[in-house]
């Protein structure tokens, strides 16, 4: 489906040149507005706070200090917990949404909601809902389920809950697509051969879903790791890495330190994307 080239080397060269020209505007944009800032950030991360030269002090400061490792631990811990819960939520949901039934479309719509709306809005809604004087607590107190309001906002469990709300659809979509790829005849065959639905799920579907589950988990983890709006608004004193970087840059004005953290964050997140794509490759080959 490519434009035909006329003749040999000369035509081909012109072809490549023409193509390259078309790509130029975008690449110039990217170079100026993305890659240059990125390089700038990396450069800033190795700039000493005072004086000339290069230094890795900011990195060691971050990765070597209790505070720095604490931030990473917090971020990874939140992400891991939220990922686990999200997968546990997505799997039965994906199974439920397999067959057509009244309201299926509506449920699919709902499932897409958290990832389509701006994170900020979702975070605000969660904040309002689960506040100490928020709707959930008002209702639970009114119905005498609780005698004291539950603290959810600004707590770790609360943050995990919010992460799950915001990010589980990423995994849900991956798992749903994986489920859809399984030949329905396989399930039928299992049942006819005498395996109960539970056994069919355990021995036929789960093995076939393995790579989807992993891909979905990595995708969710990726999003949790990079979360910003949710912890910014509802994290209280807990600052995972995204928020921490923002605070250090804008509040403490320690740009080199923030840059170093941003680079570390970028490397980790980039690594996760790479992981996700390599799982995807394996899926397509199998």
């Amino acid at each position: 489906m490519t434009v035909a080239t006329r003749g040999m080397p000369a035509g081909h060269a012109r072809h490549v040149l023409a193509g390259s020209l078309l790509v130029c505007p975008l690449m110039l944009f990217l170079a100026a507005a993305f890659y240059y800032p990125l390089v700038y950030t990396v450069a800033e991360s190795v700039t000493p706070t005072a004086g000339p030269g290069l230094t890795l002090a900011h990195y060691t400061e971050f990765l070597g200090s209790r505070a720095g490792l604490g931030v990473l631990a917090l971020t990874l811990g939140l992400s891991l917990a939220a990922t686990l819960l999200s997968v546990l939520l997505s799997l039965p949901l994906a199974l439920l949404l397999r067959r057509k039934f009244l309201g299926r479309r509506a449920l699919q719509f709902l499932m897409m909601l958290p990832i389509t709306i701006p994170a900020l809005v979702g975070a605000l809604g969660l904040l309002i809902l689960y506040d100490r004087t928020g709707w959930i607590n008002v209702v639970l107190l009114k119905w005498h389920v609780l005698s004291e309001p539950l603290a959810i906002d600004y707590t770790i469990p609360g943050l995990i809950l919010f992460y799950v709300w915001m990010f589980f659809p990423y995994g849900g979509l991956v798992i749903m697509s994986g489920l859809g790829a399984i030949d329905p005849a396989l399930e039928e065959a299992g049942l006819v051969m005498g395996a109960s639905p539970m056994v069919v799920f355990r021995r036929v579907m789960l093995p076939l879903l393995r790579s989807s589950l992993w891909a979905g988990a990595v995708m969710i983890f990726l999003q949790c790791f990079g979360a910003f709006s949710v912890p910014l608004i509802a994290g209280g004193n807990y600052q995972p890495i995204g928020v921490k970087i923002y605070t250090i840059a804008n509040v403490f004005l320690d740009w080199p330190q923030a840059s170093a953290m941003a680079v570390v964050m970028g490397i980790i997140q980039g690594g996760l994307v790479f992981l996700y794509q390599s799982i995807g490759q394996r899926r397509r080959v199998a």
């Binding site: 489906m1 490519t2 434009v3 072809h15 490549v16 193509g19 078309l22 790509v23 505007p25 975008l26 944009f29 990217l30 507005a33 993305f34 800032p37 990125l38 390089v39 700038y40 950030t41 800033e44 439920l96 719509f109 709902l110 499932m111 897409m112 909601l113 990832i115 389509t116 709306i117 701006p118 994170a119 809005v121 979702g122 605000l124 809604g125 309002i128 809902l129 004087t133 709707w135 959930i136 008002v138 009114k142 709300w165 979509l173 991956v174 749903m176 859809g180 639905p197 999003q223 790791f225 910003f228 709006s229 608004i233 923002y246 840059a249 740009w255 964050m265 970028g266 997140q269 994307v273």
Partner: protein
Amino acid sequence: MRTLPATLLRAFLVVGFVLFISLPLVMILLDAFGADWFGMRMLPAQWTLRWFVWAAQTIDLGAVALNTVEIALMTTVLTLAAALPAAWAIARYRLPFKAILIGAILFPRMIPEITFALGVARIFYAIHLTNTAIGIALAHVMLAAPFAVLVLVSTFEGLDSRLLEAGTVMGCSPLRLFWRVTLPLALPGIVAAALFSFLASYNDFVLTLMVYGADTVTLPVQTYLSLGNGYLSVAGAISTILLVPSMLFLLAMMRMVNPENLLGGLKGA
């Protein structure tokens, strides 16, 4: 699973899920349109538009909304201007460095927004591009371009060469061919790319937060500011306006696409 307890369990789970997902958004609506409500009762005592009015008067909500739309439109135009030729080249030219090219274009979406927002903020500050609509739009192009390119490459790859060939055989000059044949065929994809770009810019928070100024406050930023100042209901009101494009987009997508085929983020962080 046709037994009664199984069906009840299922129904219970479905209801639970529906509530889980929708309640936060319902809260936004109640917050935005209700008075005498938060912290006190399940439903507002009164329904009102006063928060919107207050916002319009005090923090100039109208101007903020206008800013957001203006920047989003600029982003869309700039993104399409750059992405259309690039996607055309990728889809229909044999370029030796194609894989690297695509990787370089998609890279902005693979690393956290804050990481390059830092650099963008510093550079913009140095060249006085902060607090300008065009500056913010330029930054947003980085977020919108990967999606736009993906959609457009797929669109252009899907164009049937035979139709284009038929056009040429029937006498169309390259320009005419593009205008009368290529463009109409690619229109759905171009519209989709435009919508993605608009949405990416409209919804963006992190990047904008780092490069905005007093004259270029956008809706997401204003939401955050109002929240920071303690005006919860105003934040809610602004959020409802923020929600509109995303919801419309989602509804439109639901009508056309199967959710299983959608992967990758659609919103701003």
